[in-house]
């Protein structure tokens, strides 16, 4: 495992224009229902890629399959040159792919800070014995994790609510906390599942800023979203799904003109 990981990281440094992420022929069916049908596309680091489509198009399923929650029926998912299709979710996370959730799915029993600290899990292995005995190494690590988590909260603007329970946050802040938690994993690629859903205009603006800032730092993004103005403003590349099939792919301007996309969104009436 460690050898292959080393290899992939070497690859990632050398590739340049090679895609961070590539799906080929990804298919998923639940019983008789075809949720994803032979989807292929590439995702480059330079682009913020958006995945759009009407309700039931299979966007969330796509994220769930890629992130390891569901097993794909067939197809491959390459992440940094390695096929991650079928890996369990926690292993996918370890490879540097993180995601957020449509309904934010925070850890309700914990404080805001602790939620972010959970996100640091991938980079901090703690043995059960050393944790229970509170060995000096664990103490040091705990301190570091806490500082890191606090930094992230500051970065995202939630540091004043660090000790509050998540249930007390308003929706917008919960969404942001979801992003912060995913951020704590320091991922290579982040998949945001409807990050702007239910946000007010100023919150969306804040989110856009945040994404741009992170992109500067070299993080790749894939965003699933309904909010069209947001998508059109932020993304460089858009993939459109309908009934589990990819019907279009391209820069926002092209997609706006695409007849098939318009038809999919407005129903078959045109």
């Amino acid at each position: 495992m460690s050898a292959s990981r080393l290899q992939t990281s070497n690859l990632a440094e050398n590739v340049g224009t090679q895609p961070v992420f590539e799906v080929t022929g990804l298919t998923k069916h639940f019983g008789g229902i075809q949720a994803l049908n032979n989807i292929s596309f590439r995702l480059h680091k330079e682009d913020i890629t958006a995945l759009i489509g009407p309700n039931g198009a299979g966007k969330s399923t796509f994220i769930n399959v890629v992130a390891g929650r569901f097993q794909p029926s067939s197809g491959k998912v390459f992440f940094q040159g390695r096929n991650i299709a079928g890996l369990p979710a926690h292993e996918v996370a370890h490879l540097g792919l993180s995601r957020t959730f449509q309904l934010e799915d925070l850890f309700t029993g914990m404080t805001v800070l602790e939620n972010v600290m959970v996100g640091c899990h991938v980079r901090n292995k703690t043995g059960i014995l050393s944790a229970g005995l509170r060995l000096p190494s664990t103490r040091a690590r705990e301190k570091r994790i806490k500082e890191e988590a606090f930094e992230i909260l500051k970065f995202i603007g939630l540091d004043d609510k660090a000790e509050e329970k998540t249930t007390k946050l308003p929706l917008g802040e919960r969404k942001m906390l979801g992003v912060a938690r995913a951020l704590a994993m320091k991922p290579q690629l982040m998949m945001l599942d409807e990050p702007a859903g239910g946000l007010a205009a100023h919150e969306v603006a804040k989110l856009t800023d945040l994404i741009h800032k992170l992109k500067e730092e070299g993080m790749a993004f894939m965003i699933v979203e309904h909010n069209m103005p947001f998508i059109m403003a932020i993304s460089q590349r858009i993939v459109v799904l309908n009934y589990g099939v990819k019907i279009a792919e391209g820069p926002p301007e092209e997609i706006k003109q695409d007849l098939q996309v318009i038809k999919a969104y407005l129903g078959g009436s045109i």
Partner: protein, 293 residues
Amino acid sequence: MFISETIQYAISGITSGSIYAIVGICWSTVFLISGVLNFSTGEFVMLGGMLTWLFISWGFSLLPAIFFGVACTVIVAMLMERIVIRPVRYPSETTFLLITTAAGSVIRGIVLIACGSDTRHIEPFLGSSPIMIGDAVLLPQVIIVVSVLVLIAGGLVMFLDHTLFGKALRASSINQVGARLIGIKINRVRLFCFGLAGGMGAIAGIVIAPIEFTGYSVGLMEGLKGLVVALLGGWTIRGTVVAGLALGLLEGLGAGFISTGWKDALALFVMLTFLIIRTLDLTSIKKLVYRHE
């Protein structure tokens, strides 16, 4: 000799199996329709038997005693839903598990305080002159037990499949929110389920009392076996009946030919194995395939 022995074991197995099946149906009706696993189901069985005995000892004749026994158990079951289940503010499996177990021990304790710890006996309904099958003996009460199972299971299937109310119940079991939208009141449904389960459990307790006696503590084991068969039967009525009879037969024959000491462990072992096998789905195999690619 061997054949009649086997028949004897089978009879004993079918008798207990029928009771397991009825109790199993009680578990699955409540669980399937209201999502609560009621860990005091066994106490309904105990209540049925004990109350009927109580009414008989007060001088009622058999049929009215049975009627009152069942009616009182139904009332207790519904009260339990009303007092214990409905007010729970943060419903979770853990809460329901704990609260129904506690309710069970309250019921058991009250019966014990009121009726004493003595074991009770109800006379067989059709007398005790045995029917001989070769050398094997069939008690008339066994016929009653089996026919009660057939009546309950058949009646319930008919009710759920062929009446409007039954269909509504099934609908609410599939989708609680949806059911609420089309005007089914979940609380009422659950109340009804508890009453139904209480009634069926009580009947099971009554018909078995002449064979197996009844006492304040019979509920624990009967309840547990019911849970086992409900699980094995996949919470469906047909499945539970099949599982109940199968488990009863397995126990009867196992006790007859293998060991009597491990009889109760057998049922538990079957349940454990079944549960574990259930978790082994195809995904883990698929995972292996993907990893080796």
